[in-house]
């Protein structure tokens, strides 16, 4: 598994450096456009692991790396669990980076005179709980997305999976819309949920619940992917 993690990070190293710059620009732009630091941070948190997942999957297929990697002393399970571990590490690092970027931005904004600070970006309007909730929530949502995409990528490869992943997502969305359409009223439920979030430190409670749920789904996905990867031929 260590071989897999080291090779994944060796593969991503140039991308990671570029990504720090891109994420900073995206976070600042999104924060300014939406008037909330949390939304910029959440955007960065959500996009980074997913971008790197597809970078790794694309590189796997270049030049037969995925096939050659199996000639190294690693088992197929180690390959799968190593890939999940790499992306898990990236998810945690993304949370740390997005939070650091957000709080650094707030620190800079707090030094500026009030009239210069764009609307909605004043530190008082961006409580830490909302930022943490947004960042952790963004990463958790994308981890669930990765939990759906990774088994398909592991089984069919990136090229085929890029056709299958959207199809699976659309099916889930259609099922979700069908379920809520006949049951819970979305507007009412969402309004209640937003009200609950804004009460006390419920952003942090929600974040903790999302982390737990995402971790369970991600772990289950790894087991499924390992099973599927055993059947892959190269």
């Amino acid at each position: 598994m260590k071989t897999m993690i080291v090779s994944d990070f060796a593969t991503l190293r140039p991308t990671l450096v570029q990504l720090v710059g891109i994420c900073t620009v995206v976070a600042l732009f999104m924060g300014y456009a939406t008037g909330a630091v949390a939304s910029g941070a959440a955007a960065v948190a959500a996009m980074t692991p997913f971008m790197l997942l597809f970078s790794l999957a694309a590189i796997d297929e270049q030049g037969g790396w995925e096939r050659f990697r199996l000639t190294l002393p690693v088992t197929r399970r180690q390959v799968v669990f190593g890939r999940y571990a790499t992306l898990g590490i990236i998810a945690v690092a993304t949370i740390a980076f997005a939070l650091a970027l957000s709080f650094a931005t707030l620190a800079v904004l707090s030094l500026l005179p009030a009239p210069v600070v764009p609307a909605g970006l004043a530190p008082a309007e961006n409580p830490p709980a909302a930022i943490i909730g947004g960042v952790v929530g963004g990463v958790c949502v994308i981890m669930v997305g990765m939990a759906v995409a990774l088994p398909l990528i592991m089984r069919f490869g990136m090229t085929k999976a890029t056709r299958l992943v959207p199809a699976v997502v659309v099916i889930f969305l259609a099922l979700g819309v069908g379920f809520f359409g006949e049951g819970i009223q979305p507007a009412g439920a969402l309004a209640d949920f937003m009200q609950w979030l804004d009460t006390g430190s419920n952003y942090l409670v929600a974040a903790a619940l999302m982390v737990a749920a995402a971790a369970v789904i991600y772990g289950a996905s790894a087991l499924v992917a390992a099973k599927l990867y055993e059947q892959r031929t190269f």
Binding site: A10, R13, T15, G63, W65, F68, T71, L72, R76
Partner: protein
């Protein structure tokens, strides 16, 4: 002594393609050349040997142990094998130095000094990106990686393809050094049969999923020959009973016929008027696979 690799009765079906009854062994101290036309089954055999695919039938033994794909034992066995596939497979975003970091964590026997020696010899600068390497340099990088953990068995799939003649000779020199201890072995699949004439001990030829011949290289290149015949000569040779019925291989061309003879010295004594040349591996393979059976 235990063979480094033993393939017995290997079979695999892919749609219309069927690999069947493949037997192949690499003894310590032996370089086995694995030849055949494109799509003959060479890569499928090597993939099965390396556990990349599961065979439908037959067994693969590595260092005397049955190597079932996915078993924990295979991973230990794979650490004793160096592999070079037909392309430089390392991620294009990596630098040469990054490849060493992968090798260091993958192999307990990884030798940084050997890696540095090989990359210096091949003029592979540590900061050079894999994407910027030519095909030849990429193959050298793959070879350096395969050798830097001191494997006991090298599996090479078209490893010298894309290299210029000088670089190929350098690679062959390195492979000879690798074989110097007499305990190691190489299984080398290639279309460049002249490389095998310089280094191989055994030649195995596969065609259409079946082994067509397996013989010591010296039998093919020293004993065997190609008789340069006229059509009448072929008829006379066949009538003389020099070949058992159906075992002669004849290839007709514009200026006459080539006849594959297993013992050119005996043939020369029997038919002194027919010129007979030493066979190359390519001659032997071409006549065996494409020659008309008479």
């Amino acid at each position: 002594m235990t063979n480094l690799i033993d393939i017995e009765n290997l079979g695999k079906r892919y749609g219309d393609f069927v690999l069947t009854g493949v037997n192949l062994a690499v003894e310590p101290g032996t370089v086995v050349g694995f030849i055949g036309s494109n799509g003959a089954g060479k890569t499928t055999t090597l993939k099965a040997a390396l556990g990349l695919i599961t065979a439908d039938e037959g067994t693969v033994r590595l260092f005397g142990q049955v190597a079932a794909p996915g078993s924990a034992a295979v991973e230990e066995l794979k650490s004793r094998i160096g592999v070079v596939l037909d392309t430089c497979a390392f991620p294009s975003t990596c630098r040469v130095g990054d490849i060493a970091s992968i090798g260091r964590v993958a192999y307990a026997t990884w030798d940084d000094a050997r890696w540095n020696e090989l990359t210096a010899l091949f003029q592979l600068a540590p900061k050079k990106k894999v994407a910027d390497l030519s095909r030849g340099m990429g193959m050298k990088l793959s070879l350096a990686f395969a050798l830097a953990h001191h494997p006991e068995l090298l599996v090479l799939d078209e490893a010298t393809a894309g290299l210029d003649p000088i670089a190929r000779d350098e690679v062959l020199d390195i492979l000879r050094d690798f074989m110097a201890t007499g305990e190691r072995g190489i299984l080398m699949s290639t279309h460049i049969t002249s490389d095998l004439e310089k280094i191989a001990d055994e030649i195995v030829c596969v065609d259409n999923g079946r082994i067509m011949f397996a013989a010591p290289k010296d039998v093919l290149t020293d004993e065997a020959g190609v008789a340069r015949c006229r059509a009448a000569d072929v008829a006379a040779v066949l009538e003389a009973g020099f070949f058992a019925p159906g075992t002669a291989r004849v290839l007709r061309h514009d200026y006459g016929c080539d006849l594959l003879v297993p013992d050119r010295f005996a043939f020369g004594r029997a038919f002194p008027d027919i010129p007979v040349d030493k066979a190359t591996i390519e001659d032997y393979m071409t006549l065996t696979l494409k020659g008309e059976s008479r």
